[in-house]
């Protein structure tokens, strides 16, 4: 985006936000939050089953999904945006997973009911309309394909699992995520501290890796954008960070522990975790317990705590980090409000005139040898003439922004619901009268 090209590059290229800049007020308790792919909207799943979408530009809610029915009737557990930003996947404790088309959002586009509450559900990176879901007290995750009229559900289980199951109990599968580079790989974590990698293929599911990392519940599993680092948050109050190596033929998979993060003083659990972009130089986590109100930020290479994001007065639950607008969002457990930290770029006074320059201290003016030479004027004219002949491209769009984010995917614009504006106006008018 052009504004980033005109701002101080050192501020623009900061790797993480530092300042609490926005609070999105929510009248309902929020359970989970997700930015749209380009970071211009934020979806919030609420404890009463509602899904509200906020516009980040105005910091106001713009729409609620399911105005004509079909929304969740218990708390929303997870949200996932499709890459194009048009379809939103939600899962709830009411046993349903639903696909919403934001073009016409008064009813869900597609839905499927499991026979117990859903832990989480996310779009798979392998195929459009395919998603991976984990369900309460089930040994395996599920692959749900929404491509047809009826959802096709398949257990994410290989023949190897069957043999293993007799000798070893791996517990229930609680979390999952897709590998960003190898789109047919799905990583899962279980209630007994097992980490597995499955490969999804036309001819079936293969278990590529299985190892035990702890003796407790897996709470979260995140993978870096580059796919070579993972972090697992488990209920033993520890976040474990691993390096992940996968050979191109997937024959060799190697995971090695890099760091363990614990709160040594308060001995708190971590509510949620998230990686920074690219190769995940940073890891952030929100803390459990009413006394802690901050987000911790560690450097993943050294494992040291580098920053604490402050400013809220309540415990924080879910977190999300968008790399287009470089904002971190987290929702409060008491009010349901959503807090947003962003990079604040100070105004540049030198921008107010073309020949202003910002200097740290006074500089005594000395005329340069050739500053007012006439020949220089000629040269300048030549330069101007040259600029008039160099080819210019008025059509081609930028492919990447200065932070390296892909701009080729057009972001979906949620249509404005004008009847809502009219209704609100009538409401206000009636109130005034």
């Amino acid at each position: 985006m052009a504004n980033l090209q005109l701002q101080d590059p050192f501020s623009v290229l900061k790797e993480y936000p530092e300042k609490l800049t926005q609070i999105l007020v929510s009248p309902i308790y929020t359970c989970c939050i997700r930015f749209s792919p380009r970071g211009d909207y934020l979806a919030a799943g609420c404890s009463n089953g509602a899904i509200v979408i906020y516009d980040i530009d105005t910091a106001k809610p713009i729409t609620m999904l399911g105005s004509e029915g079909g929304c969740h009737i218990r708390s929303v557990q997870s949200l996932s945006w499709s890459r194009c930003g048009r379809y939103l996947l939600s899962s709830g404790r009411d046993w349903w997973i639903k696909v919403w088309d934001l073009q016409s959002r008064s009813r869900p586009l597609k839905e499927h009911k499991f026979d117990s509450p859903i832990w989480e559900c996310h779009w798979s990176s392998r195929a459009p309309w395919e998603c991976i879901s984990t369900v309460l007290e089930k040994s395996y995750a599920y692959v749900v394909d929404f491509v047809g009229e009826e959802a096709i559900v398949q257990e994410l289980k290989s023949t190897l699992d069957n043999d293993d199951a007799e000798s070893l109990d791996h517990g229930y599968t609680l979390v999952s995520c897709s590998h960003p580079r190898f789109s047919d790989l799905v990583l899962t974590g279980t209630s007994k501290g097992w980490f597995k990698i499955y490969q999804l293929r036309q001819d079936g599911v293969t278990l590529r890796h299985c190892s035990k990392f702890a003796n407790s519940n897996t709470k979260h599993l995140v993978i870096s954008q580059s796919g070579d680092r993972i972090a697992i948050n488990s209920s033993d109050r520890t976040i474990r960070q691993f390096s992940l190596f996968i050979s191109d033929d997937m024959e060799h998979i190697n995971i090695e522990i890099e760091h363990k993060y614990q709160d040594v003083i308060n001995k708190l659990q971590w509510n949620s975790i998230f990686f920074s972009n690219n190769s995940a130089e940073y890891l952030i986590a929100s803390t459990h317990g009413s006394s802690a109100h901050d987000i911790y930020l560690w450097e993943t290479s050294s494992g040291t705590l580098v920053r604490v994001l402050e400013g809220t007065e309540e415990e924080l639950l879910d977190i999300d980090w968008n790399f287009y607008n470089m904002c971190i969002a987290a929702n409060g457990i008491e009010t349901g409000n959503i807090y947003i930290w962003s990079i604040v770029i100070p105004p540049k006074w030198s921008a107010l005139a073309p020949d202003f320059e910002e200097v740290d201290e006074n500089i005594e003016y000395k005329e340069k040898e050739d500053e007012f030479d006439e020949s220089d004027v000629l040269e300048q004219q030549q330069e101007l003439d040259e600029a008039e002949e160099t080819e210019i491209d008025l059509r081609a769009l930028e492919k990447f922004d200065v932070r390296g984010n892909d701009l080729t995917m057009k972001s979906f614009i949620i249509p404005i619901e004008y009847s809502d504006i009219v209704m609100l106006k009538m409401w206000d008018g009636a109130g005034a009268a």
Binding site: A2, L6, I345, P347, K348, A387, D393, L394, I416
Partner: protein, 318 residues
């Protein structure tokens, strides 16, 4: 190469007591909206029918713009206010806050924000859902007469003012990011050269700028230098802010066209790459200034001060 062919003549029957300043093609290409006193005339191109939308304005409409979804028309008025009118639901908002006539408007590509500029020297950003003022940018020292936001990038806003400055703002923070002036000697003996129109290229990397000395320039605003200069022959002090726009021929290998209007009712079309004059045509019967030029896909709508509104289509030569 190519040229404009006349498609439709006299889209409105001009009222001789009224001065016309704004005509815009809707983003979906179905309608043309024309400001006529305090009313908006919407001409349906398919059905060849004109509907009148009255507004709450008490003075003539100076400028108007379509929302990106083609459902609403925002009008800037001499009575210091802005209205947003929906084609089906009628008036949605009346925005008050400017302290002098409002001169131009532009929507962000999402349609969630409307930006306005005014003779009161400020630029204001409004939330279109609630009709709420979000922020004011005051960095000019004369009337701000033209603003634009690229259709592909809502992060920047360009403004042109009678103080002779072109400024680029950050839409989200309201900070000024860059200032462009007419060369170094922007303050000549006759005072500054007022800027009359600004328009981004479709990729948001260049800025087309017209000034009241009759010169049109393309700026590389990131580098802060002029990359093309066009002179329409009559280089003098102009009185009217005549329209101009870019047109992008359907064939992507053909260079874009710079289309500008003049005070005597002519339209000039230049090759934006090598600056050759493609075409010069008379677009009015009354020789009044061409106040508005609006290009959308292959179509161009022109409007003269006396209300002669025409639709042209660009035809590529083979």
């Amino acid at each position: 190469m190519g040229c404009f062919r006349l498609e439709k003549l006299a889209l409105v029957v001009p009222n001789s007591d009224i001065l016309y300043t704004a005509a815009k093609i809707s983003p979906d290409g179905r309608f043309i909206a024309i400001g006529e006193d305090a009313n908006v005339l919407v001409h349906d191109l398919e059905k060849a029918r004109t509907t009148t939308y009255p507004t709450a304005h008490t003075r003539p409409i100076a400028n108007l713009t379509w929302s990106p979804d083609s459902q609403c028309i925002a009008t800037a008025c001499d009575d210091f206010t802005i209205t947003i009118t929906h084609l089906v639901y009628g008036e949605l908002h009346r925005l008050t806050g400017h302290t002098a006539p409002v001169t131009a408007l532009v929507y962000t590509p999402k349609g969630n924000l409307l930006c306005s500029c005014s003779v009161d020297e400020s630029i204001k950003v409004w939330d279109t859902l609630e009709g709420r003022l979000l922020r004011t940018m005051s960095a000019h020292s004369e009337s701000v007469v033209s603003i634009d936001i690229p259709t592909c990038d809502a992060s920047v806003l360009a403004s042109g003012s009678y103080d002779g400055l072109i400024r680029v703002f950050d839409t989200a923070s309201g900070h000024c990011l860059k200032t462009l002036t007419y060369d170094k000697d922007w303050q000549s003996e006759n005072g500054v050269v007022p800027i009359s129109q600004v328009k981004f290229s479709v990729n948001g990397k260049y800025l087309l700028v017209a000034s009241l000395d009759g010169i049109i320039k393309i700026w590389d605003y990131l580098q802060g230098r002029v990359v093309r200069t066009f002179r329409s022959g009559v280089s003098s002090t102009l009185k009217y802010s005549c329209g101009m726009d870019f047109l992008y021929p359907a064939d992507p290998t053909k260079p874009p066209v710079v289309v500008t209007g003049t005070e005597d009712g002519h339209i000039y079309c230049w090759d934006a790459q090598d600056k050759t004059l493609y075409q010069e045509l008379l677009a009015t019967n009354d020789n009044s200034p061409l106040m508005c030029i609006d290009c959308r896909e292959q179509y161009m709508c022109s409007l003269s001060l006396r209300g002669d509104c025409r639709l042209y289509k660009w035809v590529d030569d083979n």
